[in-house]
Structures are given as C-alpha cells and as structure tokens.
Assembly symmetry: C2
Homo-oligomer: 300 residues x 2
Amino acid sequence: MPLLVVGSIAFDSVQTPTDSRDNVLGGSAVYFSYAASYFTGVRLVGVVGEDWPEEHTKLLEDRKIDTQGLQVMEGQETFRWKGKYEPNMNDRETLELHLNVFENFNPVLTDELKRCPFLFLANGSPTTQLKTLEQMNGPRLVVADTMDLWIEIERDQLMELLGKVDGLVLNDSEAKLLTQEENLVKAGHMVRAMGPKFVVIKKGEHGAMFFSEHETYVMPAFPTADVVDPTGAGDSFAGGMMGYLAQKNDFSPATLKEALAYGTMVASFNVEDFSLDRMKQIDKADIDKRLEEYRKMLSF
Amino acid sequence: MPLLVVGSIAFDSVQTPTDSRDNVLGGSAVYFSYAASYFTGVRLVGVVGEDWPEEHTKLLEDRKIDTQGLQVMEGQETFRWKGKYEPNMNDRETLELHLNVFENFNPVLTDELKRCPFLFLANGSPTTQLKTLEQMNGPRLVVADTMDLWIEIERDQLMELLGKVDGLVLNDSEAKLLTQEENLVKAGHMVRAMGPKFVVIKKGEHGAMFFSEHETYVMPAFPTADVVDPTGAGDSFAGGMMGYLAQKNDFSPATLKEALAYGTMVASFNVEDFSLDRMKQIDKADIDKRLEEYRKMLSF
C-alpha cells in the first residue's frame, strides 16, 4: 500500500572523529523514504530551495519514490544542518542550524496524497504535523516522530497530536524529557498513556524498545563494527518499519515486531557510510540476508 | 559439575535516587555464588572479618553453596563499599571504599577445590587471580572478570591473565578503557585478541555482547520497570552464565548462548531489590518462566 511521508529535507555537514562531509543529502523525510522504498511505494512531501540539485530528485526517483510533493521555493535555500559526533558516535553537537525554507513549511496535499493509507509524520513541528494530518482522508495507520525541541517549545500541540496518532517513534532522551522518567520501560508506557496505541523508543547503538497495551519488548541493534556516520539512523529505522507495515498492509503484533526488525536492519546499513552512500549500494536481498543473521543471533 | 568462585565479599551501603540500605550483604563472589546456585553446586572462596554475621553464612548454605573456603580473619573487618546511583540507575559514584581484609586476600585452595572443573575469577587483582589459577589442577573452563582499577594499575598482570583464561567478562566502559576503542564490536574482538577464546561485554540496562572467533552477538537486557538497585547485576549475570555452563558441563556455542540468556534473566531479578532480597524470593522455575518470556520476546 502507498506510504506517505512528510518531513524535512536537508543538506547536512557532518563531522565524525575520523572523517567529514559537507552539504550532503539528508533530512528525515529523505532517509525515511529511501529506507521505506525497499518495501513499498513511497510518496514524499517536503520543501527545498533553489539550491536543490536535480540529481537528488533523480536519486529518489531511481528508487521509485514519488517526488510530486517536493516543493521547490525559488530564491530561497534548503534547510542546512551541521553537526559533530563525539568519539562514542552516539552523542552529537549541533554546530549550525539554518531552517531556511523549512521554517515556513506548509504541506499542502493533493487529493491523491490525502488518500494514502499509511502516513508517517517525520521531523517537523507538531503544529505542521497536525495540519498535515487534518488534510488526510481516513488513513489506516498514522505514526509520528518528534524531537526534543518540540517537547520543549510546543508541548501542548504535541499532546494534541499524540491523541490523534496510532504510533509514536522517539529516542531515549526524548522519552525521558517528555515523561520526566528515567526508567525507559516506565517512560514508554507513560508515553503510550498520552494517546498512541504503540510507542517505539530508539536507543541508537542499543536498539529499540516497543510498547503497546499488552507488549513490552526490546530489539538490540545489529552489531556492526563499521559505524561511519549515525546521521539518519532513526529515520531509516522508521522508514524500514513503516515500509514493511505498508507492504504487508497489516499492523498486527507479529507484523509490528517483524517491522521493527526490518527497521533495525535498514538502520544498520545506513550508518555504514555518510548520507545515503551505503544505502545506494544495497538491495532488498541484502536486507533480507542480514535479517536472517539477526534472527539467528537472537535465537537460542 | 562443581563451580568454584574466588572473589570479594562485602558489606555494601547503597543510595539510589529513592531509597537506601546500609551494610547489606554484597560482593562479587556473593552475588555470583547465589546466582550460580540455581544451576549447579558452587564452592565459594573469599575472606571476611570478625564482623561477619553467621546468618550470612547460613543464607549461602541454605542454597547449598559450599562455604568451606570462607576465611574469617580475627580482629579485622570485612570489605566495605558505599556508593550512590545517578537518576539513570546506570552510572554510580563510589563514596567510600574500605578494602579491609580484602587488601591482603591470599586464596589458598584445598585439594578438593583445586580439582573443580569450572572456575570463575571474580573481582580481585590480576595478581591474586593468577595466584589462584596457578593452584588449579587442570580446570575445564576458566573465566575471569576484571575492573577499571586493575586495567589502570595492573595492566601487565592482567595481560598475563588474559593469556591463561578461556573467557573474560567485563563491562562496556572497561572494554573501552582496555582497548582505547569506542566501538564495542571492535573492542570486543580486540580484547579477544589479547588471549581469551571468548569475551562478554556487559552493557547494564542495554544487555550483553558476546565475541568468539566465529560469533558476534548481542542479547538485550530483560525490560523491567522495577530497577531498585543495580548492585551485583554484573556478578549475578556471570553467576547465571557460569552456573548454567557448569550444569551442562559443556561450552559449545549453543550452550554459551543459552548461558548468556540465563545470566541475563538472573541479573534481571537481582536488580529488582537491594542485596540478595529479590533473589531470596525466587526459585529455578521463576527463572525458567522469565527465560521463556525472553525467548518469545526475541522471536519474530
């Protein structure tokens, strides 16, 4: 089934302890779409400036991602982020942030986009996420991401959003910030009590936790020695997860768990190089092969 | 098969964000023995002062732990540790440390103890661990633990020890300190290259990683909302693991993975109360029941 993602598109400048890249393709909706495209048809809605090179659109379209919802704003610049990773490759510092076109991002959905049965509200303000959701025409499954910034400055809007989505994906520090609870098992269920039927807490190199009314489980990250750039790992994870759910057109507990496993695999490839460089090299068979290794790893 | 453990016995004073206990039973060999006793016959070697209450010996003997190797030093005091946990319940600060009798701990093994086929060298200096190992009469499996202190002040002796043991168990920060490598997958294999056939890196609430020549895997911690006191989690983990290996009298890859899973389960009970308070309430059936939940959690 078609999967719609609405979120940021960015040029990232990334410094790791051993290497760096300037102005490479990034952004939550980009990482998400590319990851999801291995599983289902993806429709991307986002905004860029006139500095956006056509080759980036082509890269997405080569994976059959529908880019009709890509707005190009003349005379403006694309969202830019510059960040630096600590030696542990988990903590990072934002060095520069230029919202540019993303500051006034106002997604307007075509009738075709409104009818997408699966929706992921990637990084964006809860206000924008709510505006997007209001345009939808009875989606089957809506999952949102959020960030520390929105928890801090748009808490009321975020709480309203949480009452309207089926699932929320957020990272461990955001879950602690949102609930003021340090135990992630408690925090996960507290977030769930704010509205979503299920909550996924991403723990970076330590994997992800899932919470629904009757289930609590953890899936470890795939242990890779080749962590080159963690940027986009969380969005790739969400993309793999939602892509698989849309492909199956199902979100039963068993399918959700498989979806988390697929998200984990896609994220594990994504971190093996900067931007989408590693993702560009793999196909679905590579993901399936690693999933079988992962399944074996967790069997005893 | 009989399992010998040689290590520290302590009185712990523990402060958590919400509660505290003073002078409760602790120490690496205590947590280890109690955990291992659910699986096999355990022989404990350690040293205490004349402040050691007989009820503690009885508690261990009630679980059929052989305490003949418990030395009581007249006129001296038992090792004491006082620590405080951060709100995340993972990081802790040592407030007081009194080695007392443990400072000159010199384990002397009886002929019966020397013939134990399974040996765990729990917390102690590499010098003491080597002295213990030298007394053994052809053990089938020797696994050691180590600590940041020994990596810093007895590195040469630790390296000598690593050439003589089958396995090493250490935590994530210790693995990084020992190898100067931040990526735990790389660090694990680097530690293995120092001598042991297998290495287990404990990650606290994030589980444990296993490394052998042909295998690298991660097992997440059991997600519990009731983390009351993490003290002894690592030693309980090692106890469950070694206890199971000794019970099976086998250390094939499949048995080692089951052993890690059992270690994870025992540790998850241990953290649910101070000292051995939670462990005292459970029996082997409780551990097996949680293991089945864990197995189900990791199946997809």
